[in-house]
Symmetry: C2
């Protein structure tokens, strides 16, 4: 189809947004629109400037015969701040405190606009990391894991508490829950992860970190590697966590006796500014 | 920010894609770009033509003081056909047959590009329906439900097999599994669904339809209404299904004794052409 610049811009924007972290050759666009590569390059410059000024991601172009363009979604600090503020507002209600020191988040995690924004923020933090899979524990982490995976175009693997008939043969490990000190089991289908795969672990909630530690062990059991860890909410506990070097978006304190909770920002800003400064260094 | 048309087109496309089924006033865009509403209207005409020729959705504009624009994602028949063909290719391997007549789909459902495309196709079928929530059963249906919900900007409610500490008070019902004839339980947090809400039920797999029938009962228990049902794969069974008037993307036959399976298209095309013809009728 022969298109004018204005139509090309609409179509390319849509195409790039739907194919994040995939290198698309200039020839592909050039053939798709029956336009010269030089025109395509100009289009991409306009899109790149817009994406960068709106802080919705980087557009990396590679020159040469194998040249192409790759859209890497990210979230600007301002949007991240607004998102965390809105989440804090939503979460800071004492009716949300559940027995056992948990927080009722089902309604928030049910909303795709929150979930997808959280996914974009987590993807931002790991924008410079090579990732082959996103891992999570059933069931609340699943939507967050898919939201990150969508931004990265990599598959999700879901760890379960017991093996299911619909999953074929599985690998299982035992781990000790950090809070309850009970022995628990987690399983993953044998075909889920390849050796040396780089895995980002994503979860909704972290208390002592026992589940996260279990997932690290499971990744290692497959000969794969943990490329990063991110949780939406970490709970402030008196004891140190069983894992470190993880990203948290929010930090929760509950005083159960007094029925009060406070929520503050986690460490995500430190991580964000680190990944942004890395990007600046890498660019010529 | 004052933007040129080319930059406005990029930004508006991105904005519309990220806010499906939400009415955005022309004033919003007009203020955002410091441009006259007449320019915005021209931009929208370009975007509308492109979305329609690419069959990625409708752009409905409402005139007048409360006027605005609403992007309704859909999938063209050609893209739908390609998607179903690719899914069939992926699924038609006898190693996928699991004990009990199930199909191993974990790898396919792990890939966000498949999941999001399936979500877009299901959203297409129900493009003319008013929807307030997407319901699914844990755990395999969850990514599909979020993929549909993202296209519709409505929340997801996840039915569970047992109540969890992190969900607060719940409503539970018993139902009889269509295949195993056993009594099973399903639960949903009390705060999940409002009375009169219009619910689309989405699931990955349907054998006899017992789970689907249970979810219908659960929706009614909340005084809500089933606006539609969609499954990725329905299994051909000798007995008639326990539910009818559902959408299926694929239809599976397994001959367990001979270790063979065949997959054909479900009834989704009939539904798609019906929703498309409705749209034509509604337009002036």
């Amino acid at each position: 189809m022969k298109l004018k610049r204005s139509s090309r811009l609409v179509d390319m924007t849509e195409y790039l947004l739907r194919h994040p972290h995939q290198v698309i050759s200039l020839s592909y666009f050039s053939e798709r629109y029956e336009s010269a590569k030089s025109s395509i390059s100009e289009d991409l410059t306009i899109i790149k400037e817009n994406f960068e000024s709106q802080e919705i991601g980087r557009l990396q172009t590679q020159a040469g015969a194998t040249g192409g363009v790759c859209y890497m979604p990210s979230m600007g600090c301002e949007e991240a701040e607004q998102l965390l503020e809105r989440l804090q507002e939503q979460m800071t209600r004492k009716e949300r405190i559940l027995p056992g020191g948990y927080l009722y988040m089902t309604d928030i995690l049910g909303k795709p606009d929150y979930v997808n924004a959280i996914g974009r923020l987590i993807a931002s933090v790991f924008i410079n990391e090579k990732l082959d899979a996103i891992m999570t524990m059933e069931t609340k982490g699943i939507p967050l894991a898919y939201a990150v995976a969508t931004q990265r175009s990599v598959p999700v693997v879901v760890v379960r508490r017991s093996s299911k008939v619909t999953e074929g043969s599985t690998v299982s490990i035992n781990y000790i829950s950090g809070s309850s000190k009970r022995i628990q089991t987690m399983v993953l289908p044998r075909r889920s992860l390849k050796e040396h795969a780089r895995v980002l672990i994503v979860d909704d909630f972290m208390k002592a970190g026992g589940t996260m530690k279990g997932m690290i062990n499971l990744v290692e059991e497959f000969g794969a590697r943990v490329a990063g860890m991110a949780v939406l909410v970490e709970k402030k506990e008196e004891r140190p966590k069983l894992v470190d070097h993880y990203v948290s978006l929010l930090k929760l304190s509950i005083l159960e006796q007094q029925d009060t909770l406070t929520i503050e920002n986690g460490n995500v800003y430190e991580w964000l500014s680190e990944s942004a400064s890395l990007a600046v260094k890498e660019q010529p």
